[in-house]
Assembly symmetry: C2
Homo-oligomer: 430 residues x 2
């Protein structure tokens, strides 16, 4: 069975896959394990931050009106009627010419409307009573961190689908979330295929290669935020393959095979998809590398047939699988982050297919610049280690020159893009 393959445009292929995007289940994790996950609920401030007027410095809380007339020549003396550390509250009401010694973070006592820093005061004792003298007039509000100045109660600062970075963790702690509701990591199965494959612990044999794709894809799955499950290599026997794929589908949310399962002339994938009743969404994409990427669906589950060539496999995953993972987290920007960059090399030869060149982006005085890295063949493995972006070169009758503005898709990035493909097309038309 040599299958006829009809290439479709990249954007169309992504769209067909996105139709099967789904919402992953939620789970609850302790706050200290929430970093790096995606939030599954909107989080509202359960309090103002600060929750009370507080002092940002060590000093004395006073009524500012009492400092009137104080200057370098004439000091005003305050009776020190109490002392409060952070976490403590002064019970009384501060009266005329009274002051309370206050520590950083402590609540401003009733009656006070300013804090004078310790450094600009003089303290002394007289008849067993503490006093403080001040040679400066202060305005009402001086050195007060006001209730709600940072965050107002009820404000929704972090929303469902958001990536949990250290700052989000700080907010979750502040708002009282010892447990956090996050999206479950989709479980993505990986099956390697190809009679030429050795596992990394096997000695090289003539004509064979080590299986790098399965391990690479598992790392890509982790980078995207999901969990990988390796099922090893498929057998050469079609019946066994069908059973293996069926069994794997019971245990995973998404299944990826890499390589063509080709035994002699025979590519097993179409036969497997047919046998298990999966609908092939596409089996060829007008792009390089990765043109033979196949995606099929069965009962809402996606099956990816990624290329056996490392670069092609890598690109296929990032374009077609990553956005499904991020959509399972309800992240509003599930696609690779799209930016403009200055092209750092010439691509003089036109190519009918849209190319995704593995590249290193860096900054030249703040200007994003993209340089291809390593060997640019779909079989290349050397070009992936330095890649933090793809340069997108749309197919057509033109070449591309160093210095031109091109679209890049960033790989090491938690932010992502909304649907980027319309803009990508546009940016090359203008």
């Amino acid at each position: 069975m040599i299958e006829q393959r009809k290439p479709i445009a990249v954007a169309e292929a992504v769209q067909r896959v996105m139709h099967y995007a789904y919402q992953e289940k939620i789970e609850i994790v302790p706050l200290h394990q929430a970093y790096g996950r995606f939030l599954a609920e909107d989080i509202a401030a359960d309090q103002d931050v600060p929750a009370f007027n507080r002092s940002p410095y060590d000093g004395y809380a006073i009524r500012s009106i009492d400092s009137e007339g104080a200057n370098a020549e004439q000091s005003v003396v305050f009776q020190v009627v109490g002392e409060i550390g952070a976490g403590y509250v002064y019970d009384g009401i501060v009266d005329e010419r009274q002051a309370v010694r206050i520590m950083t973070g402590a609540m401003i006592p009733q009656g006070c409307d300013a804090v004078v820093m310790l450094e600009i005061t003089q303290s002394f004792e007289q008849d067993g009573q503490s006093y403080m003298s001040l040679k400066r007039q202060v305005q009402a509000g001086t050195n007060i961190s006001y209730k709600g100045e940072d965050i107002q109660k009820g404000a929704i600062l972090i929303t469902k689908g958001q990536y949990i970075n250290p700052g989000v963790v700080a907010l979750l702690a502040t708002f009282g979330y010892p447990q956090v509701t996050v999206f479950k990591k989709p479980i993505i199965g990986v099956i390697a295929t190809g009679s030429e494959l050795l596992e990394p612990d096997e000695a090289l044999q003539v004509g064979k290669i080590r299986n790098s794709n399965a391990y690479m894809v598992m790392a890509q799955i982790e980078r995207a935020g999901a969990a990988a499950k390796y099922f090893g290599q498929l057998s050469d026997n079609l019946e066994l393959c069908i059973e293996a794929v069926k069994d794997a589908l019971q245990e995973v949310d998404i299944l990826i095979t890499t390589g063509g399962v080709s035994v002699g002339d025979y590519d097993y994938l179409p036969a497997i998809y047919k046998a298990i009743g999966a609908e092939v969404l596409f089996n060829k994409v007008a792009m390089r590398p990765g043109s033979v990427t196949t995606v099929a669906a069965r009962n809402g589950q996606l099956l990816y047939g990624l290329s056996g060539n490392p670069s092609a496999c890598y690109v296929g995953f990032e374009l077609f699988t990553r956005p499904i993972i991020r959509t399972a987290f309800q992240n509003p920007q599930p696609h690779l982050r799209r930016e403009q960059a200055r092209l750092g090399a010439d691509f003089p030869k036109p190519n009918p297919f849209t190319r995704f060149v593995r590249a290193t982006v860096s900054f030249d005085n703040g200007q994003l610049t993209a340089v291809p890295c390593g060997f640019d063949k779909s079989s290349a493995v050397s070009s992936l280690e330095g890649a933090n972006a793809f340069i997108v070169l749309p197919g057509g009758s033109r070449g591309y020159e160093k210095g031109m503005q091109v679209v890049v898709l960033l790989l090491e990035d938690m932010q992502g893009s909304e649907w980027p493909w319309d803009k990508i097309e546009k940016s090359y038309k203008s």
Copy 2:
């Protein structure tokens, strides 16, 4: 004991800390757990990649010389003497006008120097023998992926200290590393201090705040690549504090306390450092926020006294702790990644201290632009969730205007910088 604190410059403070940078121990992990770790050995190619001349397509392997004279009018006929799939080797030597049916990835048979793609041939049978006819002359070398064209045996593509991304995983698999030697994650202890602190599972009380710093710092520790261990909150009792710190130091590589351990007027930290014989490297830095950051050392172990204010604590960790973690991995770029960006807001008021403004960097047509996020006080917690960079504004008599070129330090980045501080100073002088 109210301590005198003498501020030192940021670069000087980082330098003092870096003096105590150390090399972490190594450990061996299975390849499928190596993603996100740092490599502890140089990895040389144990083979050429490809390891043999191979076919990038399905087709026929031939001797190109036999195609001479073939054209649209006149086809050349080859006897098909064998068929090889990927992973298999053709035993014989291909002779005049012979061809071997070859699959993608299979080794080029002896005698052949070109592959013709299936699509441009016609196959037929005659007297039980297979033939292939070709109407095109091909050059020697056509459609051959040459041995070593991607990677040459002995080449060192990945080196000690390198971050393991999916492309590095692919290389490790290719070169036969089922186990990978990586640097151990330093264990970083976290102790929260402050009588005002409630844990996230406690109800709010008047005058108190929830402990956000410990959880935030644990996430920062993880982001930097290390492992966090939480020791809870310190007691108000000095003797108990000293014992707790001593005990914690037995279990960790580095110890972070957040907050001043202030009980009334009394900051316990200097007393604790003194009691355990730790040398204070500095206890004040000429920067905002985070000026009260303290770092001490004892028997090569670093003790960080980070501020109780969330933004100050956050900045202190990224400037002073992160580079120690990355140096433990022998990463040559342990500091935050330094780049130039266009300032997206005005900072008209001069400030004597170097400021690290929590900011969101984004791209404006490929030009890095930095906009402050949230509330800019050292006590702010809202400004951290959107922060992916610090804007560095050196202290002095000038303000800064929107549109100016400024230095930014990127937070969500695995690449880092070599010592950035000389360049930061220079970039504001030019």
